[in-house]
Symmetry: C2
Subunit: 418 residues, 2 copies
C-alpha cells in the first residue's frame, strides 16, 4: 500500500472541500450538525455493535480496563455525542465577524474579517466520541478535517465517519470535509505531518510522547497541549476557609485531568494555621502528600518531596506541598516548574492579587478560584477542542474562534501607492 | 567552539530577560528606544566605519553590487534607523490591553489580556538596519530577541547590538533582551531552531531557501513569509482607466518587492478595449510581457507564457498576462497559482466585489486598490516585522500586536467546580 499517495489524495480532497466550506452559510453548517445528531440517534444500535468489534479486539490484545472504558460507546456516550452536536450548532458562527475596520488618510477602508483556517489535521488517542466533537467544531468553524484517531478505535471511527459524511452531503456540504484516516500503521502520522501543501494546522491530543513526536516531525504549524503542572499559591492574606475549599476542589474533584492542582504553595506566615487542617482533609480524601522539609517540620509523618516531584503532573491523588518565604518565591517556583497551563492565587490583598495576575505566565491565571475552571465551557467559550500551552495563535482553551484566523479586506476607490 | 553551549547560554539569558520585560512599563520601553536613537546618532561615525569593514570584506568576496548596497550603512541609513526608533516609541504599547471581559453565571469575571510572546528568534539576511528595526519592535512589545543576521553584516550587527544593549541598561531594562548571535557558522541556525525550551517563536526573513530550511528544521513555531505571487483581476465591469492606473502601480512602482503584481488577469469581454493600451504602457515602462494564447491573438508580438510562469514571483519588470472567461476562472487561477499574499479585483459591480472579497484566500484582499498596499504601515498598523502568509496567529503584515498573545485572567470570590 502506498500510504503517501493515499494520504495525499485525502489531503487534496480535504483542501478542495475547504474551498466550499470557507463560504458555507451558518444555516448549512448547522443543518449538517443537526443531521449528524439525528443520524447518530437513528443508527445507535449499529454504532454500538460496531464499537463492540473494537472493544473485543482490545480485550483480546490485553488493553487495561481504563483504556477499554474510554474506548466503549454506550447509550450514555451516544447521548453525549448528540448533546455536543446540538451545543455546537447553537454557538454563533465565528466566520465573517469583522474584528475591526478603520479608514486610512488616503480613503482606503481597511478591515479584518474572521475566516476559517482551512484544513485541520487532528491526531488523537482512543476515545471515539472525540471524532464527533472535533468534527463538529471544525465544520462549524468552516474547516475541513483529517482525523487520525487511535488504531484501537478504527471500526468505531469509520462508522462515525460514514454517518458524518452522509449528513454533510444531505446539507449540501462536501462529504470529504470530514475524513477519518483508515490506516492503523504508525507511519501514516509522519506522512500527514509532511502534507504542508494541503494541511494548515495540526492539533495533537494525547500523551507527551505523541505531542513530542508531532512537534519534532511536523512541517505544519502545531497547536499543542503539553502537561498541566498547575499550582495554587495560598498567600499570607488568604481567607483560609476559602483557600481550603479551593485547594480541595483543585486537587480532589477530578484529579486525572490537566487543570487539577499538582503542587500547593503556602506562605510561611500562615503555614501553621493552614497546613495541618488542610493536609488532614487531603489525607481523609485519600491524597498522598509529598512535602518540603519545612512542611515536614510541622507535620512529621509525611513523605519528603524529591526534586523530581516539583515538575511532575501526577494526574492522580498525589499532591506536592511547599512552604514559601513570600510571593516572589512562589512565582519563581511556578516559573521554574510550571507548564504555563493554569495558576491560581488565594489572597485578599489587592496589590498581591494584581501582581500575581500580571507576573505569572500561564494560559489562565486565577484569583480566588479553583484551577479546574481552565476549560472552554467553564470560561464561557463553548465547547473546546483542546488547551494550547504554547503561546502562538491561541494561548489557553481553544474553541470555535481559535479554529479561525483573520484576513485583511480593503475597500478602495482607485488608490495607488506613491 | 561548543556552539550548542554558547547558543543555549544566550537563549537562557534571553528567557531571563523576557521575565523582566514582560512587566516593563511603557515609559521604560520608550525611554530605551529614545536612548537607542540618541546613541546611534552620537556614534554614527563609529557605526559607519565599522560597517566599512563588512562592505570591504564583501567586495573582496565578490558580492554583487546590489548586495553590497543593501549591506551599506550611510547617513541615510542612520537617519532611517533613528526615524524608525522614534516611530516605534510613538506607537501605543500593545501589552496590557484587555481584549475582552465577561461575567460567568457563577460570578467569575473572565477576561483576556495581551501579553508578550516571550523570546523571539529572528533570522534574517544581510541588511543591518533590520537589526535595529526588529529589536525596536520586539522591545516595544515586551519580547526579548535573539538576532541571527547575515554573516556579511556581522561587524555592523555587533556594534549596533552594543549600542542597543547599553541603551536598555540606561533605561533599567535587561541588557540581554537584545542579543546578536556573533557566530557566522551555518550550524548556529540549526541550534537556535532546537532551543524550544527557551525560544517561543521564530521569524525568518529572507529567500525561499532560508524559509524552507527553517520550517523543516524548527521545533519552535515559525511565522513565515513565503513568496508573493500577487494578481490583479480586471473584471468586465471595471472602470478601465482606474484599472490601468492600479495595474501600472502594482507592477511598475516597485517591482522588486513581495506585494508587486506578478500576473494580471483580464475578463475576456474587456480584453480588446483594455489590453492593447495597457500593454503598450507596460512596454514603454520596460516591462516584459509573458502572455496567454488568447492575449497573443490580440497582440501577436508578445512572448507566450509557459506553465512555469503562472506560479513565479518575478520580483522584476516581468508580467504574466491571462485572459479569463469569467471571475470564477480568475479565482480558480488565484487558488491554484497564488501564494496567499495579496490579491486585488478592479470592478464597479457590487456583487462581484463582495464575492471576490469573500472567496479569495489571501492575507490581504483588495477592491479597486493597488496590491502595493499590503504593508503594515500602509494598512495603518505601524511598522512591520514581516508579512505572514501562513494562517496561524497572524495572517498578513505583523506589527506590534502580532508580537503578542493573550492570556486568560479570572477574578473569583471563592468559586469551585461542582
Amino acid at each position: 500500500m502506498d500510504f503517501n499517495k493515499a494520504i495525499q489524495a485525502m489531503a487534496k480532497d480535504a483542501k478542495q472541500s475547504a474551498r466550499s466550506l470557507r463560504v458555507a452559510k451558518r444555516a448549512e453548517k448547522d443543518a449538517a450538525l443537526e443531521f449528524m445528531a439525528e443520524q447518530i440517534l437513528s443508527k445507535k444500535e449499529e454504532i454500538i455493535t460496531t464499537n463492540a468489534k473494537d472493544t473485543t479486539i482490545a480485550r483480546e490484545n490485553g488493553l487495561n480496563p481504563a483504556m477499554i472504558d474510554r474506548l466503549t460507546i454506550d447509550e450514555k456516550t451516544i447521548t453525549s455525542m448528540i448533546a455536543g452536536l446540538h451545543e455546537v450548532a447553537a454557538l454563533p458562527d465565528p466566520v465573517g465577524e469583522v474584528t475591526g475596520m478603520w479608514k486610512r488618510p488616503n480613503g482606503l477602508q481597511v478591515g479584518q474579517i474572521r475566516i476559517p483556517l482551512g484544513v485541520i489535521g487532528f491526531i488523537y488517542e482512543s476515545r471515539p466520541n472525540v471524532t464527533v466533537d472535533a468534527a463538529a467544531l471544525c465544520i462549524k468553524s468552516g474547516n475541513a478535517v483529517l482525523l487520525k484517531g487511535g488504531s484501537e478505535a478504527i471500526h468505531s471511527n469509520l462508522i462515525l465517519n460514514e454517518i458524518l459524511s452522509k449528513s454533510l452531503k444531505k446539507a449540501n456540504l462536501p462529504e470529504k470535509s470530514i475524513q477519518v484516516i483508515p490506516y492503523k500503521e504508525h507511519e501514516v502520522v509522519g506522512i500527514l505531518l509532511s502534507m504542508d501543501e494541503y494541511v494548515d494546522i495540526i492539533i495533537p491530543r494525547g500523551g507527551e510522547g505523541l505531542i513530542s513526536y508531532v512537534v519534532e516531525n511536523s512541517r505544519i504549524p502545531v497547536l499543542k497541549h503539553f502537561k498541566g503542572v498547575c499550582h495554587v499559591y495560598v498567600d499570607e492574606f488568604a481567607d483560609l476557609e476559602m483557600a481550603q475549599k479551593i485547594c480541595y476542589n483543585a486537587k480532589v474533584q477530578r484529579p486525572g485531568v490537566c487543570n487539577a492542582m499538582e503542587t500547593m504553595l503556602v506562605h510561611k506566615t500562615i503555614a501553621t494555621s493552614f497546613l495541618p487542617g488542610m493536609i488532614e482533609e487531603f489525607i481523609r480524601a485519600g491524597v498522598e502528600i509529598r512535602a518540603c522539609e519545612n512542611t515536614l517540620r510541622l507535620i512529621p509523618h509525611l513523605t519528603l518531596a524529591k526534586e523530581s516531584d516539583w515538575p511532575t503532573e501526577y494526574l492522580d491523588l498525589i499532591l506536592a506541598v511547599k512552604i514559601v518565604e513570600d510571593m516572589n518565591e512562589a512565582i519563581d517556583h511556578i516559573e521554574r516548574y510550571g507548564s504555563h497551563h493554569t495558576e491560581a492565587i488565594v489572597t485578599n490583598d489587592y496589590k498581591r492579587s494584581q501582581e500575581f495576575l500580571e507576573r505569572v505566565d500561564a494560559s489562565v491565571v486565577l484569583i480566588n478560584a479553583s484551577t479546574r475552571f481552565n476549560d472552554g465551557f467553564e470560561l464561557g467559550l463553548g465547547a473546546e477542542i483542546g488547551i494550547n500551552t504554547s503561546k502562538l495563535h491561541a494561548y489557553g482553551p481553544m474553541s470555535l474562534k481559535e479554529l479561525t484566523t483573520t484576513k485583511f479586506i480593503v475597500y478602495g476607490s482607485g488608490q495607488v501607492r506613491t
